[in-house]
Subunit: 362 residues, 2 copies
Amino acid sequence: MERRRRLALLAEARLTPLDAKTAVGLLRYRPESVVAVIDSTRAGLTAQACVGTGDAIPVVASLDAAAACGADTLVIGVAPQGGGLPDAWRPVVIDALTRGWDVIAGLHQFLADDPELASLAGARGAQLVDVRRPPGDRLIATRRAASVEALVTLTVGSDCNVGKMTAALELERVLRERGRRTAFVATGQTGILIADRGVPVDAVPSDFVAGLVEREVVAAAAGVEVVLVEGQGALHHPAYSGVTLGLLHGSCPRALVLCHHAGRTTIRGPGGRTTDSDPPIPPLAALVKAYEQAAAWVSPARTIGVALNTLGLDDEAARHAVAAAAADTGLPTCDPVRFGAGPLADALQAMLETRRTHATSS
Amino acid sequence: MERRRRLALLAEARLTPLDAKTAVGLLRYRPESVVAVIDSTRAGLTAQACVGTGDAIPVVASLDAAAACGADTLVIGVAPQGGGLPDAWRPVVIDALTRGWDVIAGLHQFLADDPELASLAGARGAQLVDVRRPPGDRLIATRRAASVEALVTLTVGSDCNVGKMTAALELERVLRERGRRTAFVATGQTGILIADRGVPVDAVPSDFVAGLVEREVVAAAAGVEVVLVEGQGALHHPAYSGVTLGLLHGSCPRALVLCHHAGRTTIRGPGGRTTDSDPPIPPLAALVKAYEQAAAWVSPARTIGVALNTLGLDDEAARHAVAAAAADTGLPTCDPVRFGAGPLADALQAMLETRRTHATSS
């Protein structure tokens, strides 16, 4: 995404921290590109008031209002399970294209393949950008990522939408502040919008998930000390576990960061709805074991810490939740957004040092 | 595939049991549809002499010779890793279309999307059939397959190309001979060609692998006692493990059959080549444990036996290999092709009986 774009993020009636994942990611990591968020049910508020990030970026009711803020590009700000364009949003996309705005989406349903939208975009000189369109390369993974010198680190989780991308980006931020050379590998639509590159693994034909991730990790590893790979899905997720394992085996991480949303006890069904038949989330220690076992089928990995998303808790409850997760797992634990990713960065740096010592002594 | 087709199977220079997977599958399970196999390096031999199945179906050198056998359809008889059309085969496809023959392929590279081939097919009134083209539905799995009454059974393996489809089909054959009502769910190009339906899981966007498999299994389960699901890949395969796990969690089998090629010690690299860096295949007992652990992340499964592919061994060595695998795992073991799938069918029937007893007593 070009840096000079002026983005309006469409999150109509859904501008909450868990619902508007793409909007929240851009507000947190690309705020300089965002001029407005569209949600008529929250118009007049700030982004900060709605989702806890984005400072004074205004929430507005309409494209007209976003235009008044200087917007020239519309971003679909949600990532619905199933990946279709919500029906109610189609007129908004048409309106944006009619204004000559580019429209960026991270949906499974590609806007540029929609004849009406494509024809309108053509007529108005607007671009339809589908960041989830997978590369066409048919690559077969061969554990090449296990041989890179950089410390490849993958965020893994107890469910979807628990903070895997955020944990990776916050960890990268702290490592950079400490002078470490790092690279971030985006694997989902929001991460790709933020990083301007990556591979939308969940849209890739399943045979090539690991191969495309491997290429991305090997390329990112050149000249850096740590590669942070954005995780996807969960090994215990009935729908997405295959995405998770392909990503795990394609990236061959040596370090894992386990991500969890404090208080969540079940894996959420389609659309993020909670039902009685949702599968339970195993204890964190069991998740650590499962991820390490699954990694070792191809290349061994060690969990270096837990990133606990404490959204919805007050500071004291959050501190208790962090302490409990640390006790359950015996691992450094933090909420990287609320309290900073320092403890995870410490653990990674210790691992870097250990490897250096080994390399020197051998 | 319509039953009245008269197939020529293209397997030029590759008509061996492991190389020409699609051709061998059709020769074994749809011989009535096959009139010739094309491999100029083996012309004059029979299919039986080359790959141990297909009886007197002739191996011929050219399309002309296949035409003389009455062929009206060309099938691409290999399933290369990466899934592209071998360059050398393009002229043969063009020749077939020029004759007005339909061409059926199970490649990742869709023939119908190739402008030259599509235009030629159109001009000649020929059809290009890509059985690996995934359905467009964006389905999210929710463990529905765990609730069907039928005993869902999935074949899993130590590597690609060890006999997972064959084990499922042979097991189905024996169960049917015993009067059991069964259904077969094809998940790969060869299985789909044989069964005339199925879902090519390795070509499906990774988010929807489990969801599409789930739909297929639930539909197949209606009115049968046992559903046999064709397995794909391997949990320990660096490239395809994600396909395997999506299939495992989408189909929610209660029973697993572990498939292995006797004597194979490493997972083969791209193109089936063996190199020094190929990952080792763990002991069979470790594989059983890994598959059961991975299944239990979503829905528990029990391994009911081992299908050992003894291709390349003589009968005595094969019997020894079967006995060794049985000793290693403590499970009923057989080579379903060489010795029949009876022991696996026995184990499944015992499981069916146990469930009936439980259902009656509860």
